[in-house]
């Protein structure tokens, strides 16, 4: 694999991906999706776009490294310690789910299924985080609606990712 051949190249690329993920989560906060659907956690998942690219093109440890850096820096920039738990649980679960699913890519799954699974895993992680934060199972009530949104938003992310990847060299 080329990333192993040239460490400078892979460090630079990973740093760029972390920066891109942070910029995308910031951009996403400006989109008024929550004004249309008043549920905590409903969003396009633009930062997951970077994870989706990473699980398709990079080894899993590198993908997890990118997710961890994105979450830590995101918390530093304003998420706080509670925010860190939310983004870590959501981000890592999504990365693991998509890394597992991506093995079926081109055979039994397309990017659509991979991305939907990632979105669902992300929501599951965040619900888990709010269950832990609040010490109550009440947040589980949001999960059905969030799973519906995972199907829709996961498909949107997949279309965006496919558009990006067809334009980027391997």
């Amino acid at each position: 694999m080329r990333s192993a051949d040239n460490p400078v190249r892979s460090v630079t690329r990973d740093a760029l991906l972390v920066a891109l993920a942070l910029a995308l989560s910031y951009l996403e906060r400006l989109l008024p999706v929550q004004a249309l659907i008043p549920l905590p956690g409903v969003k396009l998942g633009l930062a997951n776009l970077v994870t989706l690219y990473a699980v398709c093109r990079l080894p899993l440890p590198e993908t997890l490294g990118i997710v961890l850096c994105r979450c830590l820096l995101g918390a530093l920039f304003g998420g706080g310690i509670t925010g860190l738990m939310f983004s870590l649980l959501g981000g890592v679960l999504a990365a693991l789910a998509m890394a597992a699913a991506v093995r079926g890519l081109d055979r039994s799954l397309s990017l659509l299924g991979v991305s939907m699974l990632g979105a669902a895993a992300h929501h599951l992680g965040q619900i888990l985080a709010s269950v832990l934060t609040l010490g109550s199972w009440a947040p589980l009530a949001y999960l059905p609606a969030l799973l519906l949104s995972a199907v829709a938003m996961g498909a949107v992310t997949a279309v965006l990712a496919a558009g990006i990847m067809s334009r980027l060299p391997e």
Binding site: Q34, A35, P38, L39, P40, T82, A101, G104, L105, D106, R107, S108, L109, S110, L111, L112, G113, M116, L117, A120, S130, T133, L134, G135, S136, A138, P139, L140, A141, Y142, L143, P144, A145, L147, L148, A150, V151, A158, V159, A161, A162, G163, M165, S166
Partner: protein
């Protein structure tokens, strides 16, 4: 080039399975959480998972309860909602009226939960 892109997005049987599985689990979870036929009997207010108040919803008139300064819950007539909250995201207020047992509105910044319980849940068990 465009052939490659459509390859990444060309739906396979697994995509359909993933989509259906997600929709099905949403539906099952929904049914499990909200299928109780009972009307809304009580609204429970929790902070940090601890119950701080129980609001009777069966009266016809509306009343207000303030779990802390800046937050107002309006309840009565079989429903309850966060009327006002000075939390940064306002998700709790936009959740709107809760009318069925199992429904809840969550204010994460203030760690408050408003949850609806059924009419005579306890009676139903003992009876």
């Amino acid at each position: 080039m465009s052939g490659k892109r459509s390859g990444l997005l060309r739906p396979r049987w697994g995509d359909l399975a993933v989509g259906l599985a997600l929709l099905l689990s949403a539906a099952l979870l929904w049914a499990a959480l909200f299928s109780s036929g009972a009307g809304a009997g009580t609204a429970v207010v929790l902070r940090d998972g601890e119950e701080i108040a129980r609001l009777e919803l069966r009266g016809a008139g509306m009343a207000e309860f303030s779990p802390e300064p800046g937050v107002t819950i309006r309840y009565g007539g079989g429903r309850a909602a966060f009327l006002r909250s000075d939390c940064p995201d306002g998700v709790c207020v936009r959740t709107g009226w809760l009318t069925r047992p199992g429904q809840s509105a969550v204010c994460l910044p203030k760690r408050l939960i408003l949850r609806i319980e059924g009419e005579g849940d306890v009676d139903a068990v003992s009876g």
